[in-house]
Protein backbone atom coordinates (compact mmCIF):
# COMPACT_ATOMS: atom_id res chain seq x y z
CA UNK A 1 0.00 0.00 0.00
CA UNK A 2 1.41 3.38 -0.94
CA UNK A 3 1.64 6.30 1.44
CA UNK A 4 -1.16 8.05 -0.43
CA UNK A 5 -3.50 5.07 -0.13
CA UNK A 6 -2.64 4.53 3.52
CA UNK A 7 -3.28 8.16 4.39
CA UNK A 8 -6.44 8.26 2.31
CA UNK A 9 -7.85 5.43 4.42
CA UNK A 10 -6.52 6.75 7.74
CA UNK A 11 -8.01 10.22 7.25
CA UNK A 12 -11.22 8.71 5.90
CA UNK A 13 -11.70 7.12 9.34
CA UNK A 14 -10.18 9.94 11.36
CA UNK A 15 -12.57 12.39 9.78
CA UNK A 16 -15.57 10.66 11.33
CA UNK A 17 -13.83 10.39 14.68
CA UNK A 18 -13.18 14.13 14.60
CA UNK A 19 -16.75 14.93 13.58
CA UNK A 20 -18.13 12.77 16.40
CA UNK A 21 -15.74 14.37 18.88
CA UNK A 22 -16.70 17.89 17.78
CA UNK A 23 -20.40 17.13 17.94
CA UNK A 24 -19.88 15.75 21.45
CA UNK A 25 -17.96 18.72 22.84
CA UNK A 26 -20.33 21.26 21.34
CA UNK A 27 -23.63 19.58 22.15
CA UNK A 28 -22.89 17.87 25.47
CA UNK A 29 -22.58 21.06 27.56
CA UNK A 30 -25.93 22.30 26.30
CA UNK A 31 -27.60 18.96 26.87
CA UNK A 32 -26.13 18.98 30.39
CA UNK A 33 -27.51 22.47 30.97
CA UNK A 34 -30.98 21.42 29.84
CA UNK A 35 -30.84 18.18 31.83
CA UNK A 36 -29.91 19.82 35.13
CA UNK A 37 -32.54 22.50 34.68
CA UNK A 38 -35.37 19.95 34.87
CA UNK A 39 -33.98 17.91 37.79
CA UNK A 40 -34.56 18.49 41.48
CA UNK A 41 -31.30 19.36 43.22
CA UNK A 42 -31.42 16.17 45.35
CA UNK A 43 -31.36 14.01 42.25
CA UNK A 44 -28.23 15.80 41.05
CA UNK A 45 -26.45 15.45 44.39
CA UNK A 46 -27.37 11.77 44.75
CA UNK A 47 -26.15 10.70 41.34
CA UNK A 48 -24.12 13.42 39.63
CA UNK A 49 -23.07 11.20 36.73
CA UNK A 50 -26.50 10.25 35.44
CA UNK A 51 -27.29 11.44 31.94
CA UNK A 52 -31.06 11.29 31.97
CA UNK A 53 -33.97 12.37 34.10
CA UNK A 54 -36.66 9.95 35.18
CA UNK A 55 -40.34 10.73 34.77
CA UNK A 56 -40.95 11.02 38.54
CA UNK A 57 -38.07 13.42 38.96
CA UNK A 58 -38.86 15.67 36.04
CA UNK A 59 -39.74 19.11 37.28
CA UNK A 60 -40.34 22.56 35.89
CA UNK A 61 -40.39 24.24 39.28
CA UNK A 62 -36.89 25.57 38.59
CA UNK A 63 -38.23 27.56 35.67
CA UNK A 64 -41.15 28.71 37.74
CA UNK A 65 -38.78 30.03 40.39
CA UNK A 66 -36.56 31.76 37.87
CA UNK A 67 -39.31 33.41 35.85
CA UNK A 68 -41.72 34.50 38.61
CA UNK A 69 -41.47 38.16 39.62
CA UNK A 70 -39.48 38.87 42.75
CA UNK A 71 -42.63 40.11 44.46
CA UNK A 72 -44.01 36.57 44.27
CA UNK A 73 -40.83 34.99 45.58
CA UNK A 74 -39.26 34.24 42.20
CA UNK A 75 -36.13 35.66 40.58
CA UNK A 76 -37.88 37.97 38.14
CA UNK A 77 -36.20 36.78 34.94
CA UNK A 78 -39.24 37.66 32.85
CA UNK A 79 -38.63 41.33 33.54
CA UNK A 80 -34.92 40.89 32.88
CA UNK A 81 -35.68 39.29 29.53
CA UNK A 82 -37.49 42.43 28.45
CA UNK A 83 -34.61 44.56 29.78
CA UNK A 84 -32.15 42.51 27.73
CA UNK A 85 -34.34 42.76 24.66
CA UNK A 86 -34.67 46.51 25.09
CA UNK A 87 -30.94 47.08 25.55
CA UNK A 88 -30.08 44.79 22.62
CA UNK A 89 -32.62 46.28 20.22
CA UNK A 90 -31.53 49.75 21.26
CA UNK A 91 -27.93 48.80 20.54
CA UNK A 92 -28.92 47.44 17.12
CA UNK A 93 -30.71 50.64 16.09
CA UNK A 94 -28.07 53.00 17.45
CA UNK A 95 -25.16 51.02 16.02
CA UNK A 96 -26.69 50.73 12.56
CA UNK A 97 -27.45 54.46 12.52
CA UNK A 98 -23.86 55.15 13.43
CA UNK A 99 -22.21 52.51 11.26
CA UNK A 100 -24.09 52.68 7.93
CA UNK A 101 -22.93 56.12 6.71
CA UNK A 102 -19.36 55.54 7.85
CA UNK A 103 -19.00 52.10 6.33
CA UNK A 104 -20.57 53.32 3.08
CA UNK A 105 -18.06 56.14 2.99
CA UNK A 106 -14.97 54.03 3.66
CA UNK A 107 -15.98 51.35 1.16
CA UNK A 108 -17.30 53.52 -1.69
CA UNK A 109 -15.86 56.98 -1.54
CA UNK A 110 -12.34 58.22 -1.84
CA UNK A 111 -11.64 61.02 0.54
CA UNK A 112 -8.86 62.42 2.67
CA UNK A 113 -8.07 60.13 5.58
CA UNK A 114 -10.53 57.45 4.52
CA UNK A 115 -8.15 54.57 4.99
CA UNK A 116 -6.86 55.86 8.28
CA UNK A 117 -10.43 56.08 9.54
CA UNK A 118 -11.10 52.56 8.40
CA UNK A 119 -8.12 51.46 10.50
CA UNK A 120 -9.30 53.62 13.40
CA UNK A 121 -12.66 51.86 13.52
CA UNK A 122 -10.87 48.54 13.95
CA UNK A 123 -8.24 49.97 16.28
CA UNK A 124 -11.02 50.38 18.82
CA UNK A 125 -10.52 46.69 19.52
CA UNK A 126 -7.01 47.35 20.80
CA UNK A 127 -8.29 48.86 23.97
CA UNK A 128 -9.60 46.66 26.74
CA UNK A 129 -13.25 47.17 27.58
CA UNK A 130 -12.14 47.75 31.14
CA UNK A 131 -10.22 50.79 29.90
CA UNK A 132 -13.33 52.30 28.34
CA UNK A 133 -15.47 51.41 31.30
CA UNK A 134 -13.99 53.84 33.83
CA UNK A 135 -14.50 57.13 31.97
CA UNK A 136 -17.81 56.04 30.48
CA UNK A 137 -18.99 55.20 33.95
CA UNK A 138 -18.14 58.69 35.19
CA UNK A 139 -19.52 60.42 32.08
CA UNK A 140 -22.82 58.62 32.44
CA UNK A 141 -23.05 59.39 36.11
CA UNK A 142 -22.66 63.07 35.25
CA UNK A 143 -25.41 63.19 32.64
CA UNK A 144 -27.74 61.02 34.69
CA UNK A 145 -27.76 57.94 32.45
CA UNK A 146 -26.13 55.72 35.04
CA UNK A 147 -28.16 52.64 35.79
CA UNK A 148 -30.47 53.14 32.82
CA UNK A 149 -31.01 50.74 29.96
CA UNK A 150 -30.71 53.53 27.42
CA UNK A 151 -27.28 54.33 28.80
CA UNK A 152 -26.28 50.69 28.47
CA UNK A 153 -27.46 50.57 24.85
CA UNK A 154 -25.33 53.64 24.10
CA UNK A 155 -22.28 52.05 25.73
CA UNK A 156 -22.71 48.94 23.62
CA UNK A 157 -21.97 51.02 20.53
CA UNK A 158 -18.34 50.95 21.60
CA UNK A 159 -18.38 47.15 21.33
CA UNK A 160 -20.44 46.80 18.18
CA UNK A 161 -19.41 49.61 15.83
CA UNK A 162 -16.07 48.11 14.75
CA UNK A 163 -17.48 44.75 13.71
CA UNK A 164 -20.51 46.40 12.04
CA UNK A 165 -18.31 48.69 9.98
CA UNK A 166 -16.21 45.70 8.99
CA UNK A 167 -19.20 43.59 7.93
CA UNK A 168 -21.06 46.36 6.09
CA UNK A 169 -17.93 47.65 4.38
CA UNK A 170 -17.23 44.23 2.91
CA UNK A 171 -20.74 44.02 1.60
CA UNK A 172 -20.97 47.52 0.16
CA UNK A 173 -17.77 46.77 -1.72
CA UNK A 174 -19.53 43.97 -3.63
CA UNK A 175 -22.31 46.18 -5.02
CA UNK A 176 -21.33 47.18 -8.57
CA UNK A 177 -20.60 50.84 -9.14
CA UNK A 178 -22.74 50.75 -12.28
CA UNK A 179 -25.91 50.37 -10.22
CA UNK A 180 -25.21 53.58 -8.44
CA UNK A 181 -24.24 55.32 -11.64
CA UNK A 182 -27.52 54.31 -13.24
CA UNK A 183 -29.39 55.78 -10.31
CA UNK A 184 -27.34 58.95 -10.55
CA UNK A 185 -28.13 59.26 -14.25
CA UNK A 186 -31.81 58.95 -13.41
CA UNK A 187 -31.42 62.01 -11.26
CA UNK A 188 -31.00 60.54 -7.81
CA UNK A 189 -28.86 62.48 -5.39
CA UNK A 190 -26.30 60.42 -3.52
CA UNK A 191 -28.50 60.25 -0.44
CA UNK A 192 -31.45 59.08 -2.53
CA UNK A 193 -29.25 56.52 -4.26
CA UNK A 194 -28.25 55.09 -0.92
CA UNK A 195 -31.77 55.00 0.44
CA UNK A 196 -33.49 53.64 -2.66
CA UNK A 197 -30.81 51.49 -4.28
CA UNK A 198 -27.89 50.60 -2.05
CA UNK A 199 -29.67 49.87 1.21
CA UNK A 200 -32.34 47.61 -0.34
CA UNK A 201 -29.58 45.72 -2.12
CA UNK A 202 -27.68 45.41 1.12
CA UNK A 203 -30.74 44.23 3.07
CA UNK A 204 -29.39 40.70 3.73
CA UNK A 205 -26.14 42.12 4.96
CA UNK A 206 -27.95 44.67 7.13
CA UNK A 207 -29.99 41.83 8.63
CA UNK A 208 -26.85 39.81 9.33
CA UNK A 209 -25.13 42.78 10.92
CA UNK A 210 -28.20 43.60 13.00
CA UNK A 211 -28.38 40.02 14.24
CA UNK A 212 -24.73 39.99 15.12
CA UNK A 213 -25.03 43.25 17.05
CA UNK A 214 -28.05 41.83 18.85
CA UNK A 215 -26.05 38.76 19.82
CA UNK A 216 -23.13 40.79 21.13
CA UNK A 217 -25.42 43.04 23.16
CA UNK A 218 -27.54 40.17 24.48
CA UNK A 219 -24.45 38.25 25.61
CA UNK A 220 -22.57 41.23 27.02
CA UNK A 221 -21.69 41.09 30.69
CA UNK A 222 -18.98 43.51 31.85
CA UNK A 223 -20.71 46.79 31.04
CA UNK A 224 -24.00 45.54 32.43
CA UNK A 225 -22.17 44.61 35.63
CA UNK A 226 -20.50 48.00 35.96
CA UNK A 227 -23.43 50.17 34.93
CA UNK A 228 -26.48 48.39 36.27
CA UNK A 229 -25.36 46.48 39.35
CA UNK A 230 -26.94 49.07 41.66
CA UNK A 231 -30.33 49.13 39.91
CA UNK A 232 -31.81 45.61 40.07
CA UNK A 233 -35.00 46.61 38.23
CA UNK A 234 -32.90 47.26 35.12
CA UNK A 235 -30.77 44.12 35.22
CA UNK A 236 -30.25 42.21 32.01
CA UNK A 237 -30.54 38.42 32.06
CA UNK A 238 -26.75 37.94 31.99
CA UNK A 239 -26.27 40.21 34.96
CA UNK A 240 -29.25 38.77 36.82
CA UNK A 241 -27.90 35.27 36.38
CA UNK A 242 -24.46 36.20 37.65
CA UNK A 243 -25.92 38.03 40.63
CA UNK A 244 -28.11 35.03 41.32
CA UNK A 245 -25.08 32.75 41.39
CA UNK A 246 -23.15 35.16 43.59
CA UNK A 247 -25.93 35.92 46.03
CA UNK A 248 -27.55 33.84 48.69
CA UNK A 249 -27.47 30.09 48.22
CA UNK A 250 -29.46 29.26 45.12
CA UNK A 251 -29.60 25.67 43.96
CA UNK A 252 -27.55 24.82 40.90
CA UNK A 253 -30.57 23.49 39.06
CA UNK A 254 -32.29 26.88 39.34
CA UNK A 255 -29.08 28.45 38.06
CA UNK A 256 -29.20 26.11 35.06
CA UNK A 257 -32.83 27.00 34.39
CA UNK A 258 -31.73 30.63 34.32
CA UNK A 259 -28.94 29.72 31.91
CA UNK A 260 -31.41 28.02 29.59
CA UNK A 261 -33.67 31.09 29.70
CA UNK A 262 -30.69 33.26 28.81
CA UNK A 263 -29.43 30.98 26.05
CA UNK A 264 -32.61 29.95 24.24
CA UNK A 265 -33.61 33.29 22.66
CA UNK A 266 -30.21 33.99 21.16
CA UNK A 267 -29.70 30.43 19.94
CA UNK A 268 -33.15 30.35 18.29
CA UNK A 269 -32.45 33.63 16.59
CA UNK A 270 -29.11 32.33 15.44
CA UNK A 271 -30.44 29.04 14.09
CA UNK A 272 -33.12 30.90 12.16
CA UNK A 273 -30.53 33.01 10.40
CA UNK A 274 -27.39 30.90 10.51
CA UNK A 275 -26.55 30.98 6.83
CA UNK A 276 -27.11 34.71 6.57
CA UNK A 277 -24.99 35.37 9.62
CA UNK A 278 -22.03 33.22 8.74
CA UNK A 279 -21.92 34.60 5.24
CA UNK A 280 -22.09 38.16 6.51
CA UNK A 281 -19.33 37.53 9.00
CA UNK A 282 -16.91 35.73 6.72
CA UNK A 283 -17.60 37.58 3.48
CA UNK A 284 -14.18 39.22 3.74
CA UNK A 285 -12.38 35.96 4.37
CA UNK A 286 -12.91 34.03 1.17
CA UNK A 287 -11.90 36.92 -1.01
CA UNK A 288 -8.50 37.38 0.59
Amino acid sequence: MSRAQFEERLFGVLRWVVIAFLALITLAPFYYMLLLSVKPIDALLLDPGRLWVSAQEFTLSTYEEVLKPTAEGGQGFLGMLSNSALASLGAVVLTLLAAIPGSYAVSRLRFFGGRQLSALFLAVYLFPATLLAVPLFVMFAKIGLQGSIVGLAIVYIAQTVPVSVYMLRNYFATIPFSVEEAAALDGCSRLQTIRRVVLPLAAPSLMATALYIFMIAWNEFLFALLFLAATPENWTVSLGLQQLANGIEVSKTVLMAGSVVLTVPVVLLFLAAERLLTEGLTSGADKS
Partner: protein
Protein backbone atom coordinates in the same frame (compact mmCIF):
# COMPACT_ATOMS: atom_id res chain seq x y z
CA UNK B 1 -3.27 50.86 13.17
CA UNK B 2 -0.53 51.35 15.70
CA UNK B 3 -1.28 55.04 16.08
CA UNK B 4 -5.04 55.10 16.33
CA UNK B 5 -5.11 58.38 18.21
CA UNK B 6 -3.26 60.37 15.56
CA UNK B 7 -6.61 60.95 13.89
CA UNK B 8 -8.36 63.45 16.05
CA UNK B 9 -11.84 62.56 17.33
CA UNK B 10 -13.48 65.53 15.67
CA UNK B 11 -12.76 64.08 12.26
CA UNK B 12 -9.85 66.26 11.30
CA UNK B 13 -7.21 63.98 9.84
CA UNK B 14 -3.73 64.50 11.19
CA UNK B 15 -1.17 66.01 8.81
CA UNK B 16 0.60 62.74 8.04
CA UNK B 17 -2.70 60.99 7.40
CA UNK B 18 -3.90 63.50 4.85
CA UNK B 19 -0.59 63.59 3.05
CA UNK B 20 -0.50 59.79 2.80
CA UNK B 21 -3.96 59.72 1.35
CA UNK B 22 -3.29 62.72 -0.82
CA UNK B 23 -0.64 60.64 -2.52
CA UNK B 24 -3.13 57.82 -3.01
CA UNK B 25 -5.66 60.27 -4.32
CA UNK B 26 -3.19 61.65 -6.82
CA UNK B 27 -2.76 58.14 -8.16
CA UNK B 28 -6.40 57.44 -8.77
CA UNK B 29 -7.03 59.45 -11.97
CA UNK B 30 -4.08 57.76 -13.65
CA UNK B 31 -4.23 54.34 -12.02
CA UNK B 32 -7.82 53.58 -13.03
CA UNK B 33 -8.95 51.41 -10.10
CA UNK B 34 -12.61 51.21 -10.98
CA UNK B 35 -14.85 51.94 -13.92
CA UNK B 36 -16.36 55.38 -13.81
CA UNK B 37 -13.76 56.79 -11.47
CA UNK B 38 -11.39 57.43 -14.35
CA UNK B 39 -13.92 59.21 -16.49
CA UNK B 40 -14.82 61.69 -13.81
CA UNK B 41 -13.30 65.14 -14.03
CA UNK B 42 -11.42 66.53 -11.06
CA UNK B 43 -14.43 68.35 -9.67
CA UNK B 44 -16.23 65.04 -9.30
CA UNK B 45 -13.42 63.63 -7.23
CA UNK B 46 -13.48 66.72 -5.11
CA UNK B 47 -17.22 66.30 -4.71
CA UNK B 48 -16.64 62.70 -3.77
CA UNK B 49 -14.14 63.79 -1.22
CA UNK B 50 -16.66 66.13 0.32
CA UNK B 51 -19.41 63.50 0.28
CA UNK B 52 -17.06 61.00 1.88
CA UNK B 53 -16.23 63.34 4.71
CA UNK B 54 -19.90 64.17 5.18
CA UNK B 55 -20.91 60.53 5.31
CA UNK B 56 -18.18 59.49 7.67
CA UNK B 57 -18.75 62.33 10.12
CA UNK B 58 -21.65 60.81 12.11
CA UNK B 59 -19.74 57.56 12.57
CA UNK B 60 -16.58 59.38 13.59
CA UNK B 61 -18.48 61.56 16.04
CA UNK B 62 -20.13 58.55 17.66
CA UNK B 63 -16.88 56.60 17.86
CA UNK B 64 -15.19 59.72 19.14
CA UNK B 65 -17.66 60.23 21.97
CA UNK B 66 -18.04 56.61 23.01
CA UNK B 67 -14.51 55.36 22.39
CA UNK B 68 -11.82 57.93 21.67
CA UNK B 69 -12.74 60.50 24.32
CA UNK B 70 -12.98 57.87 27.06
CA UNK B 71 -9.59 56.50 26.04
CA UNK B 72 -8.02 59.95 26.14
CA UNK B 73 -9.58 60.57 29.51
CA UNK B 74 -8.22 57.27 30.79
CA UNK B 75 -4.78 58.39 29.74
CA UNK B 76 -5.25 61.52 31.85
CA UNK B 77 -6.62 59.54 34.77
CA UNK B 78 -3.63 57.22 34.72
CA UNK B 79 -1.42 60.17 35.63
CA UNK B 80 -3.61 61.36 38.46
CA UNK B 81 -4.29 60.21 41.94
CA UNK B 82 -7.94 59.53 41.31
CA UNK B 83 -10.42 57.67 43.47
CA UNK B 84 -13.95 56.91 42.42
CA UNK B 85 -15.50 59.02 45.18
CA UNK B 86 -13.84 62.31 44.30
CA UNK B 87 -13.62 61.83 40.53
CA UNK B 88 -16.98 63.50 39.88
CA UNK B 89 -15.78 66.83 41.16
CA UNK B 90 -12.29 66.60 39.78
CA UNK B 91 -11.13 68.85 36.96
CA UNK B 92 -9.48 67.31 33.94
CA UNK B 93 -6.15 68.68 35.02
CA UNK B 94 -5.50 67.58 38.55
CA UNK B 95 -2.11 66.92 40.05
CA UNK B 96 0.01 65.05 37.62
CA UNK B 97 2.26 62.31 38.82
CA UNK B 98 3.82 59.04 37.81
CA UNK B 99 2.78 57.54 41.11
CA UNK B 100 0.29 55.12 39.55
CA UNK B 101 2.84 53.73 37.16
CA UNK B 102 5.41 53.43 39.92
CA UNK B 103 3.03 51.42 42.02
CA UNK B 104 1.91 49.33 39.03
CA UNK B 105 5.43 48.40 37.98
CA UNK B 106 6.55 48.11 41.58
CA UNK B 107 3.96 45.57 42.66
CA UNK B 108 5.11 42.00 42.11
CA UNK B 109 1.56 40.93 41.30
CA UNK B 110 1.58 42.96 38.10
CA UNK B 111 4.43 41.09 36.45
CA UNK B 112 3.06 37.64 37.23
CA UNK B 113 -0.32 38.79 36.01
CA UNK B 114 1.19 40.08 32.79
CA UNK B 115 2.94 36.74 32.28
CA UNK B 116 -0.34 34.94 32.96
CA UNK B 117 -2.09 37.16 30.43
CA UNK B 118 0.52 36.30 27.82
CA UNK B 119 0.32 32.55 28.44
CA UNK B 120 -3.44 32.68 28.44
CA UNK B 121 -3.57 34.71 25.23
CA UNK B 122 -1.11 32.59 23.29
CA UNK B 123 -2.66 29.34 24.54
CA UNK B 124 -6.24 30.35 23.71
CA UNK B 125 -5.36 31.86 20.35
CA UNK B 126 -3.34 28.85 19.23
CA UNK B 127 -5.87 26.40 20.66
CA UNK B 128 -8.92 27.94 19.04
CA UNK B 129 -7.28 28.30 15.63
CA UNK B 130 -5.86 24.76 15.70
CA UNK B 131 -9.19 23.21 16.67
CA UNK B 132 -10.99 25.44 14.18
CA UNK B 133 -8.66 24.24 11.43
CA UNK B 134 -9.22 20.59 12.32
CA UNK B 135 -12.97 21.18 12.31
CA UNK B 136 -12.91 23.01 8.98
CA UNK B 137 -10.92 20.20 7.36
CA UNK B 138 -13.24 17.52 8.76
CA UNK B 139 -16.39 19.29 7.63
CA UNK B 140 -15.08 20.38 4.30
CA UNK B 141 -16.70 17.76 2.11
CA UNK B 142 -20.47 17.50 2.18
CA UNK B 143 -22.12 14.60 3.98
CA UNK B 144 -25.60 13.82 5.25
CA UNK B 145 -26.34 16.06 8.20
CA UNK B 146 -23.42 18.38 7.66
CA UNK B 147 -25.62 21.43 8.04
CA UNK B 148 -26.77 20.14 11.41
CA UNK B 149 -23.27 19.41 12.67
CA UNK B 150 -22.08 22.76 11.41
CA UNK B 151 -24.91 24.59 13.12
CA UNK B 152 -24.31 22.79 16.41
CA UNK B 153 -20.63 23.56 16.20
CA UNK B 154 -21.31 27.27 16.32
CA UNK B 155 -23.26 26.98 19.57
CA UNK B 156 -20.37 27.67 21.97
CA UNK B 157 -19.64 30.91 20.15
CA UNK B 158 -23.26 32.04 20.05
CA UNK B 159 -24.29 31.16 23.59
CA UNK B 160 -23.99 33.83 26.28
CA UNK B 161 -20.75 33.61 28.21
CA UNK B 162 -22.48 33.73 31.59
CA UNK B 163 -24.51 30.63 30.79
CA UNK B 164 -21.70 28.53 29.37
CA UNK B 165 -19.29 29.56 32.12
CA UNK B 166 -21.77 28.28 34.70
CA UNK B 167 -22.24 25.01 32.84
CA UNK B 168 -18.49 24.45 32.84
CA UNK B 169 -18.29 25.39 36.50
CA UNK B 170 -20.93 22.87 37.46
CA UNK B 171 -19.65 20.14 35.15
CA UNK B 172 -16.13 20.50 36.56
CA UNK B 173 -17.20 20.81 40.18
CA UNK B 174 -15.41 18.38 42.53
CA UNK B 175 -18.60 17.77 44.54
CA UNK B 176 -21.31 17.13 41.97
CA UNK B 177 -19.65 17.66 38.61
CA UNK B 178 -20.19 15.10 35.93
CA UNK B 179 -16.56 15.22 34.79
CA UNK B 180 -15.19 14.12 38.15
CA UNK B 181 -17.92 11.53 38.57
CA UNK B 182 -17.10 9.94 35.23
CA UNK B 183 -13.40 10.40 35.76
CA UNK B 184 -13.63 8.34 38.93
CA UNK B 185 -15.87 5.74 37.30
CA UNK B 186 -14.18 5.30 33.94
CA UNK B 187 -10.63 6.53 34.40
CA UNK B 188 -10.20 5.51 38.03
CA UNK B 189 -9.32 8.93 39.43
CA UNK B 190 -8.56 8.57 43.14
CA UNK B 191 -9.62 12.05 44.22
CA UNK B 192 -11.90 14.55 42.55
CA UNK B 193 -9.92 17.17 40.67
CA UNK B 194 -10.73 20.81 41.39
CA UNK B 195 -10.12 22.02 37.85
CA UNK B 196 -10.94 25.65 38.42
CA UNK B 197 -9.29 26.20 41.80
CA UNK B 198 -6.02 24.25 41.59
CA UNK B 199 -3.06 26.51 41.03
CA UNK B 200 -0.64 23.70 40.29
CA UNK B 201 -1.34 20.03 39.88
CA UNK B 202 1.34 17.39 40.25
CA UNK B 203 1.54 14.85 37.51
CA UNK B 204 3.96 11.94 37.33
CA UNK B 205 4.80 10.76 33.89
CA UNK B 206 7.52 8.18 33.19
CA UNK B 207 8.92 8.70 36.67
CA UNK B 208 9.16 12.47 36.23
CA UNK B 209 7.09 14.92 38.24
CA UNK B 210 5.48 17.85 36.52
CA UNK B 211 3.62 20.81 37.93
CA UNK B 212 0.71 21.76 35.73
CA UNK B 213 -1.00 25.15 36.13
CA UNK B 214 -4.36 23.39 36.11
CA UNK B 215 -6.77 26.29 36.57
CA UNK B 216 -5.01 28.29 33.85
CA UNK B 217 -5.07 25.30 31.49
CA UNK B 218 -8.77 24.81 32.17
CA UNK B 219 -9.50 28.43 31.36
CA UNK B 220 -7.46 28.10 28.15
CA UNK B 221 -9.44 24.97 27.28
CA UNK B 222 -12.65 26.91 27.84
CA UNK B 223 -11.50 29.68 25.49
CA UNK B 224 -10.39 27.15 22.90
CA UNK B 225 -13.82 25.57 23.09
CA UNK B 226 -15.69 28.85 23.01
CA UNK B 227 -13.83 30.46 20.12
CA UNK B 228 -12.88 27.62 17.80
CA UNK B 229 -16.18 28.15 15.91
CA UNK B 230 -15.02 31.63 14.96
CA UNK B 231 -11.82 30.27 13.39
CA UNK B 232 -13.78 27.38 11.91
CA UNK B 233 -16.16 29.73 10.08
CA UNK B 234 -13.42 31.78 8.50
CA UNK B 235 -11.26 28.79 7.57
CA UNK B 236 -14.18 26.85 6.12
CA UNK B 237 -15.21 29.82 4.00
CA UNK B 238 -11.66 30.09 2.68
CA UNK B 239 -11.33 26.32 2.11
CA UNK B 240 -14.45 26.28 -0.01
CA UNK B 241 -13.02 29.00 -2.20
CA UNK B 242 -9.89 26.94 -3.01
CA UNK B 243 -10.18 25.89 -6.66
CA UNK B 244 -10.75 22.15 -6.91
CA UNK B 245 -8.44 21.81 -9.90
CA UNK B 246 -5.41 22.58 -7.74
CA UNK B 247 -6.04 19.63 -5.49
CA UNK B 248 -7.08 17.38 -8.34
CA UNK B 249 -3.75 18.00 -10.01
CA UNK B 250 -1.88 17.15 -6.82
CA UNK B 251 -3.99 14.03 -6.39
CA UNK B 252 -3.25 12.86 -9.93
CA UNK B 253 0.43 13.33 -9.18
CA UNK B 254 0.00 10.89 -6.30
CA UNK B 255 0.27 13.36 -3.42
CA UNK B 256 -0.92 11.97 -0.08
CA UNK B 257 -3.51 13.96 1.92
CA UNK B 258 -0.87 15.34 4.31
CA UNK B 259 1.23 16.44 1.35
CA UNK B 260 -1.74 18.06 -0.32
CA UNK B 261 -2.53 19.87 2.90
CA UNK B 262 1.04 21.02 3.38
CA UNK B 263 1.70 22.18 -0.17
CA UNK B 264 -1.69 23.08 -1.62
CA UNK B 265 -4.13 24.03 1.14
CA UNK B 266 -1.88 25.55 3.78
CA UNK B 267 -0.41 28.26 1.54
CA UNK B 268 -3.97 29.25 0.60
CA UNK B 269 -5.06 29.33 4.21
CA UNK B 270 -2.09 31.20 5.63
CA UNK B 271 -3.48 34.74 5.12
CA UNK B 272 -6.68 33.81 6.95
CA UNK B 273 -4.73 32.06 9.72
CA UNK B 274 -2.58 35.15 10.12
CA UNK B 275 -5.61 37.43 10.23
CA UNK B 276 -7.32 35.15 12.76
CA UNK B 277 -4.19 35.06 14.91
CA UNK B 278 -4.10 38.83 15.12
CA UNK B 279 -7.83 39.18 15.79
CA UNK B 280 -7.95 36.44 18.42
CA UNK B 281 -4.74 37.67 20.06
CA UNK B 282 -6.18 41.16 20.50
CA UNK B 283 -9.48 39.81 21.86
CA UNK B 284 -7.90 37.37 24.28
CA UNK B 285 -5.34 39.85 25.52
CA UNK B 286 -8.10 42.15 26.71
CA UNK B 287 -10.45 39.40 27.84
CA UNK B 288 -12.23 39.96 31.10
CA UNK B 289 -15.57 38.21 31.46
CA UNK B 290 -14.64 34.62 30.65
CA UNK B 291 -11.87 34.48 33.25
CA UNK B 292 -13.81 36.49 35.79
CA UNK B 293 -16.85 34.26 35.55
CA UNK B 294 -14.94 30.97 35.62
CA UNK B 295 -12.39 31.53 38.36
CA UNK B 296 -12.81 35.11 39.56
CA UNK B 297 -9.15 35.55 38.70
CA UNK B 298 -7.95 33.17 41.40
CA UNK B 299 -5.63 30.15 41.34
CA UNK B 300 -3.09 31.55 38.94
CA UNK B 301 -5.54 32.98 36.40
CA UNK B 302 -5.27 36.65 37.38
CA UNK B 303 -5.02 38.20 33.94
CA UNK B 304 -4.46 41.97 33.84
CA UNK B 305 -8.03 42.78 32.73
CA UNK B 306 -9.40 41.13 35.87
CA UNK B 307 -6.86 42.99 37.98
CA UNK B 308 -8.04 46.27 36.46
CA UNK B 309 -11.60 45.41 37.38
CA UNK B 310 -10.60 44.54 40.93
CA UNK B 311 -8.71 47.80 41.40
CA UNK B 312 -11.78 49.60 40.15
CA UNK B 313 -14.47 47.89 42.17
CA UNK B 314 -12.72 46.61 45.27
CA UNK B 315 -10.31 49.48 45.93
CA UNK B 316 -12.06 52.26 43.97
CA UNK B 317 -8.60 53.23 42.77
CA UNK B 318 -9.42 54.64 39.34
CA UNK B 319 -5.91 55.98 38.75
CA UNK B 320 -4.19 52.64 39.29
CA UNK B 321 -6.83 50.80 37.26
CA UNK B 322 -6.44 53.24 34.37
CA UNK B 323 -2.65 52.98 34.54
CA UNK B 324 -2.77 49.19 34.32
CA UNK B 325 -5.27 49.19 31.48
CA UNK B 326 -3.09 51.69 29.68
CA UNK B 327 0.04 49.58 30.16
CA UNK B 328 -1.90 46.61 28.81
CA UNK B 329 -2.96 48.53 25.72
CA UNK B 330 0.57 49.85 25.12
CA UNK B 331 2.08 46.36 25.38
CA UNK B 332 -0.53 45.04 22.97
CA UNK B 333 0.22 47.80 20.50
CA UNK B 334 3.96 47.16 20.81
CA UNK B 335 3.47 43.45 20.13
CA UNK B 336 1.25 44.19 17.13
CA UNK B 337 3.74 46.76 15.90
CA UNK B 338 6.50 44.15 16.03
CA UNK B 339 4.28 41.65 14.28
CA UNK B 340 3.33 43.96 11.44
CA UNK B 341 6.90 45.17 11.01
CA UNK B 342 8.30 41.69 10.59
CA UNK B 343 5.54 39.50 9.22
CA UNK B 344 2.37 41.41 8.74
CA UNK B 345 2.38 43.22 5.39
CA UNK B 346 -0.11 40.82 3.92
CA UNK B 347 -2.39 40.72 6.94
CA UNK B 348 -2.50 44.46 7.11
CA UNK B 349 -3.83 44.60 3.58
CA UNK B 350 -6.42 41.95 4.32
CA UNK B 351 -7.79 43.52 7.41
Amino acid sequence: MTHPTTTAPDGVPSPDASSADGAADGRSPRGAPGPGVTRRPLTASRRENRAGLAFVTPTVVVVGVVVVLPILWTVLLAFQNARLIDIQNMGLLGDWSLENFQSVFGSPGFWTSLWTTLLYTVGSTAGSIALGLVAALALRKPFRGRGLVRGSMLLPYVAPVVAVAFVWQIALSPQFGIVNEWGAKLLGWDDPVAFLSTRSYEVSLLGLDFELPLALLTVIAFETWRYFPFAFLFLLARLQAVPGSLEEAAKVDGAAPTQRFRHVLLPQLMPVVALLSVLRFIMEFNKFDDVYLLTGGGSGTDVVAVRVYNFLTARFDVGAAAAQALVLAVILMALLGLYFTFFGRKVQEDS
